[in-house]
């Protein structure tokens, strides 16, 4: 269902980019689960869009993180990716850690991003609503209890065809994915994004699952309040993994919003 391509950064590093579907283009920045071969979110998006989905640095090879030292360099990394793909003024959709990265890109490079959709974003810290420790309170192999409404991944995201069968390689894959997130959010997911959110000029929609046990609704509200003109949508019967738990509902909202914005423009 996907094609993949490898793009080259100016310093010689490479990034893997997935592509699927046809229609108006959206760029998808995935969350802590990476991208699966039959990724249900990309499948849903690809029904009506051309989806371009770069794999976050470190997920395929941990060494990719060596020269991306902080969130500013992470934003530069994605600017490189969009530059290499010849994309400007994109619709950028991110989930969880990917939403944090998307917000950083839109704040660092406002002209790169025309529309921004932040789904269950992390990247802020509220003392009144501390986030549970996604790395410490549970063994990180069972982080699913925190992220999914049902306490475990939906079947299409636990697809054995896309997971290494070897238990050690599976452990390596999980460790690489979580290290790639941890590098930018340890020990707390606050790198000063709050100060940068007002820089965002993109038309922005914030989406959150009503039953998110990881990131409370107050976070989505703060994102929406700090980004000029941002809208907000709460999806019932879903938790932090809302785009996987309620893909139809999430992307019906998203498409309706895009259409409305197009009509207004």
């Amino acid at each position: 269902m996907f094609t993949t391509e490898t793009i080259r950064h100016p310093d010689g590093r490479t990034s893997k980019v997935f592509r699927a579907g046809q229609g108006p283009l959206v760029v998808w920045l995935h969350g802590p689960k990476g991208i699966r071969g039959r990724d249900p979110v990309i499948a849903e998006l690809a029904k009506r869009h051309t989806v371009v989905a770069p794999l976050a640095p470190g997920f395929a090879d941990i060494a990719e993180l060596d020269e991306i030292r902080n969130v500013h360099e992470l934003a530069l990394h994605y600017d490189d990716v969009l530059q290499a793909l010849g994309l400007d003024a994109v619709t950028l959709v991110g989930h969880s850690f990917g939403a944090m990265a998307a917000a950083e890109v839109a704040a660092h490079f406002p002209r790169r991003v025309a529309r921004l959709v932040l789904i269950s974003p992390i990247g802020l810290w509220q003392d009144q609503h501390p986030l549970p420790d996604m790395f410490g309170q549970v063994p990180y192999m069972t982080i699913d209890t925190l992220l999914w409404k049902a306490g475990k991944a939906i079947p299409s995201m636990a697809d054995p065809a896309d997971e290494p069968n070897d238990p050690v390689e599976r452990q390596v894959a999980i460790a690489q994915a979580l290290t790639s997130v941890a590098k930018f959010v340890w020990p707390l997911p606050d790198r000063g994004l709050r100060r940068r959110l007002p820089r965002i000029t993109a038309q922005t929609l914030v989406i959150a699952g009503a039953e998110d046990r990881f990131v409370p609704a107050s976070y989505a509200e703060e994102f929406a309040s700090l980004i000029r003109g941002a809208g907000m949508a709460i999806i019932p019967d879903a938790a932090h993994m809302v785009p996987y738990e309620q893909p139809t509902e999430v992307f019906r909202k998203l498409d309706g919003w895009i259409t409305a914005k197009d009509r207004a423009a």
Binding site: L65, D133, G136, P139, Q171, V172, V181, K183, P187
Partner: protein, 413 residues
Amino acid sequence: MKFHWFHLMPYPYLPDRFRERYPSVWVDLPAGEIYDPVKGHQVYNDYLDQLEFAERAGFDGICVNEHHQNGYGLMPSPNLMAAALARRTSKAKLIVLGNSVALYDPPTRVAEEMAMLDVLSGGRLVSGFPVGTGMDTAFCYGANPATLRDKYREGVELILRAWKTRKPFAFNGKYTQLRYVNPWPVPLQTPHPPIWIPGGGSIETWEWCVENDFLYAYLSYWGYESGRPVMDGFWETVDRLGGERNPYRAGFLQFVGVADNDADAERLYAEPAEYFYNRCFHIGPGYYSPPGYSSVATIRRGVNSAVVQASKHLRTASVTWKHLIDDGVVVAGSPQTIIDRLNDMADKINVGHVMLLCQFGNMPMETVLYNTARFARDVMPKLRNRFEEHEDRWWPKTTVEVQKPASVRLAAE
């Protein structure tokens, strides 16, 4: 063979039914609820007395280490304990198995304090540089596990350069930038104290130790049989990199309990051993391996650290004395039993530096002193000659006469 008396300084008043009542002995065990500083006053002083007693009994070295927010390790600063010991001892080497270099900014602070200890003690310091456990570094000190080892290596490099370079220099590192590196004092030992690296089963650490001629100390809490995969990995690395299999380039930690016979050993040591393994080593499973802490190569090799082993051993059932003895986790019994076991250990894992836990858990003072004295009198002499054909290049070269405190000198006159 050399023998070192190692103290973890456990808190001996952890509540009953500990495992049911608290998720972890480490990181988030509420200090304000459990730690009583009035009792703590006695605990610290008793523990320092025990370390001083070990010198008098004849141990070669006395060891302190570094842990943070930990109910079984009350030494967030091993340097403070070593400083107290430096004034009260004169023969034993001070083996300081902190400092977790990546936790100190700038790392030259470590160079300064280690040099202070070396000068104060008359050149008796062993300088230990652990990377630190995931609990200590990532969870308690907020260090990013993705960059921890890289930062640690850079810090050690800076400290060694500071000790070897005799004039100020600038350091432009990835994690530390300093315009003037020029720490005072310089160590008494030249160019610097021996470097010991306490480690788990990280492949990169083995290579790094061999390449830099550091001593590798495996602080296993599970006995030498279960420590073999790690020590084998280390010795294979020594072979592969063309080093000599000198047993003095390795250290190993062992629980020990000397008695007249097996039954006597059980009477003396079963309770404190079970206290240690069932309370002190009750570690929240989410804490032992933060993402990025272990390299991909280490995960693929499948060698687990002492702490990971702990969580596996303890996840379900309580540990009993029988299990600890049968698995060789604790070596206890008559002196001959212990001599046989330590000879077997020397044969199997080839370690010249044996670090002994003669105090563990909530062991009473008199038992600690008894265990220490009997080990020194009945066991040590029988093993002294092991490995005497090898030169120990990882041991302090104390070249000055150690000055004793005036109060001690006057009392002696």
